[in-house]
């Protein structure tokens, strides 16, 4: 190297100082002390646990003692495919997720539109619809069980009173109607929340647009279908994400009603996971079910994340 290319030591030191100063002034670096601690905590306790759970699912660990990590395979996942209980629980989980989410969206949207139309006692109506959200699943599962009672429950009594005795079945005793009964109860509890989400979206739409559509001769149905609802995409995606996650929380409701073995009509993956882990002490299989649940949750979030990415708000 020639001497002409060598840096002056003072200039070198100045450059180093400038570099250091620019690094310390960098926003990311300055926020590190605030980010590192939670990042480590989340990393260890959330992502570390997820990785550990996945590793457990590759072992054949059951009972107590130490898992054997020396031979990892996908045996538990292969077992699932031939396990009729897992297939039934998966089917129920998907049906519950779809049915619950769809019905909550439809009813929540209708309620939001109703409340948005300046009804009398709007505040009270909003509170009444939202109130079920504040009640614990344990309580709602018990009183819905009373309402579903085939002999003296209010649902069957009402059906019989209006001449629909033929459809007054044993809602939570019959495996064919158990899931429907659970979905209806959950929709009752969560449609108020969906209403609030849609109501917030509706209130963000300028009133001028309602007026403009009305002056252009659009009827109320056309106004909502063509002008208002298309603008509720963000609310819709937010509601879907929340509802999908809540559908996985149906564990509490089902556990209180049926215990750890609800049977093929009401079993869902979270209950099966708990049963395999804490009743059968079959930790590896329970972990594998947990991994499937995690993947299902992530997959169900992808459309929302993609939408946010497209809107440049991710």
């Amino acid at each position: 190297m020639s001497s002409s290319t060598q840096l002056d030591p003072r200039r070198y030191a100045a450059l180093a100082r400038d570099g250091l100063r620019s690094v310390t002034r960098n926003e990311f670096v300055r926020s590190l002390p605030f980010l590192v601690v939670p990042a480590i905590l989340v990393g260890v306790f959330v992502y570390g646990s997820i990785v550990w759970n996945f590793l457990l699912s590759l072992t054949d660990f059951r009972g107590f003692g130490d898992p054997d990590y020396s031979s990892l395979d996908f045996e538990m996942y292969a077992t699932m495919l031939s396990d009729a209980t897992f297939v039934a629980a998966t089917r129920n989980t998907i049906l519950l997720m779809l049915g619950f989410t769809f019905l909550c969206l439809v009813i929540g949207l209708l309620l939001a539109i109703l409340v948005d139309r300046d009804v009398t006692f709007e505040g009270s109506v909003r509170t009444i619809y939202l109130l079920p959200m504040s009640i614990s699943f344990v309580v709602t599962s018990i009183f819905w069980a009373w309402m579903y009672n085939p002999s003296n429950g209010v649902i069957n009594l009402s059906l019989r009173a209006v001449g629909l005795g033929a459809v007054a079945v044993d809602w939570i005793g019959n495996p064919r109607t158990q899931l429907l009964a659970i979905v209806v109860a959950l929709v009752w509890q969560f449609s108020g929340l969906t209403m609030i989400i849609f109501l917030a979206g509706l209130r963000k739409i300028p009133r001028d647009q309602y007026e403009a559509a009305r002056i252009d001769g659009a009827g109320i149905r056309v106004r909502y279908l063509k002008v208002i609802i298309p603008q509720l995409k963000t609310s819709l995606f937010s509601a879907i994400v929340i509802l999908v996650l809540f559908s996985l929380k149906a564990f509490d409701f089902i556990f209180v009603l049926f215990g750890v073995s609800p049977g093929p009509g009401a079993d869902i993956l979270p209950v099966m996971m708990y049963r395999e882990a804490f009743s059968a002490n079959n930790w590896a299989y329970g972990s594998a079910i947990a991994v499937v649940l995690l993947v299902a949750t992530i997959v169900s979030l992808v459309p929302y994340l993609y939408y946010q990415y497209q809107q440049d708000i991710l």
Partner: protein, 392 residues
């Protein structure tokens, strides 16, 4: 750690705890209540602590094969010398219960505290009298079908108050039917995994319970066992199959007196067997308070402790020398009759429904089978499920 946090269970444990404190005032105790879920809350919390090798000093729950996973992991300690021999428990405790409390490779790991009979047929006296039937003369579970038909024909009551909401109530009823219909040897060989060898017997007893379902209360799938018991108390059903813990509900009901309004007979065909649910206090290791725990376990096995706990909780002592005429800790007529049967029974045995007889994985599998069966009453599918359930 205990799950006895409600009504009779809490009263029984409080009396036991009080007795221990009066004998050992120098020993500090911390009671960790884990209510709910028929013991599942306790089991979950306990599993977590055992995983961390941070067990409680002791816990009250089911002994026997339910403890196998803990025993194999070295999480249970030997109390043969320090508790069983020092407290002279071997002689007064019957062999079946002793077996539940020990593992061959360790020794004794638990001390029994209660035994609740399960092969009961509770009878609503006014209902059966109105129907003109004598439940004591019913010779087999199948013969009970005719009696229930007669009851439904003669009265407004249904044959049997039953909850099919959760599988355990159906499983324990089927176990009583299988025992009563095919005898002790067939039942015990089933528990040992001989399922295919007794295909016709198992299918037969499954078909009997499927036929029973015709005589259950209409809302059996929507009510829990307490609500079903209430229907029995109200006279809406002639019979109830449950453990002795139901007697607490009978006693709390207004105008529902033993002998006048209800009585209990052994489940048809099983009079020579005392099928029960046993609970015990365990000795885990590493134990945080080894000496204090052993003091407590020695006390738990004593006559005083067994009288205190069971007189209030509704079960019977696990010893053969407990006086039923104690002045302070009294036993009702039903308990006295059960204790007499316990002492005279040719055989003692437990149930899968209450985790005393098979390892947890099998118990969970069998429970799954009955969670399917209670909705479909498909005998062939349930039999196939039972064959697979023992394949672990």
């Amino acid at each position: 750690m205990i799950a006895w946090t409600g009504e009779d269970g809490a009263a029984g444990f409080d009396a036991l705890h009080e007795g221990f404190k009066s004998e050992h005032p120098d020993v500090d105790t911390v009671i960790n209540d884990n209510p709910g879920g028929a013991g599942t809350g306790l089991a979950t919390a306990l599993d977590t602590r055992m995983f961390n090798e941070d067990p409680p000093s002791t816990w009250g729950f089911f002994p026997g094969p339910d403890l196998t996973d803990y025993a194999e992991a070295g999480l249970l300690g030997d109390i043969t010398e320090d508790v069983w021999e020092q407290a002279n428990l071997v002689e007064p405790v019957p062999e079946y219960i002793r077996e539940l409390c020990q593992f061959e490779e360790i020794g004794y790991v638990a001390v029994p505290i209660e035994f609740n009979r399960l092969n009961n047929l509770f009878v609503n006296v006014p209902v059966v009298e109105a129907a003109g039937v004598d439940p004591a003369s019913v010779s087999s579970p199948r013969a009970l079908l005719e009696v229930m038909e007669q009851i439904e024909g003669e009265t407004d009551a249904v044959g049997m108050a039953q909850s099919t909401q959760a599988p355990w109530t159906v499983l324990q009823l089927w176990e009583a039917i299988h025992l009563g219909e095919h005898g002790f040897d067939t039942y015990t060989s089933f528990l040992e995994g001989s399922v295919a060898d007794q295909e016709s017997e198992i299918k037969d007893s499954l078909s009997v319970i499927a036929d029973y379902s015709e005589y259950f209360n209409e809302d059996s799938g929507s009510v829990n066992f307490t609500e079903a018991t209430s229907q029995f108390i109200a006279g809406d059903a002639a019979f109830l199959h449950q453990g002795d813990w139901s007697v607490g509900n009978f006693n709390r009901a207004d105008d529902f007196a033993y002998d006048d309004d209800w009585l209990a007979v052994p489940f048809p065909g099983s009079g020579d067997v005392f099928m029960g649910q046993n609970s015990a206090f365990m000795y885990p290791t590493p134990n945080p308070t080894p000496e204090a725990t052993k003091q407590f376990l020695r006390y738990a096995g004593s006559v005083d402790a067994q009288l205190r706990f069971n007189s209030l909780k509704g079960g019977i002592p696990c010893r053969n020398d407990a006086p039923m005429d104690d002045e302070e800790w009294t036993f009702n007529e039903h308990q006295q009759a059960q204790y007499e049967d316990f002492l005279n029974a040719e055989n003692l045995i437990g149930t899968i429904a209450h985790n005393n007889v098979v390892v947890p994985q099998i118990a969970s599998n069998v429970s799954d089978v009955f969670s399917n069966f209670k909705g479909s009453w498909d005998v062939d599918a349930a039999y196939d499920g039972l064959v697979d359930a023992f394949d672990v």
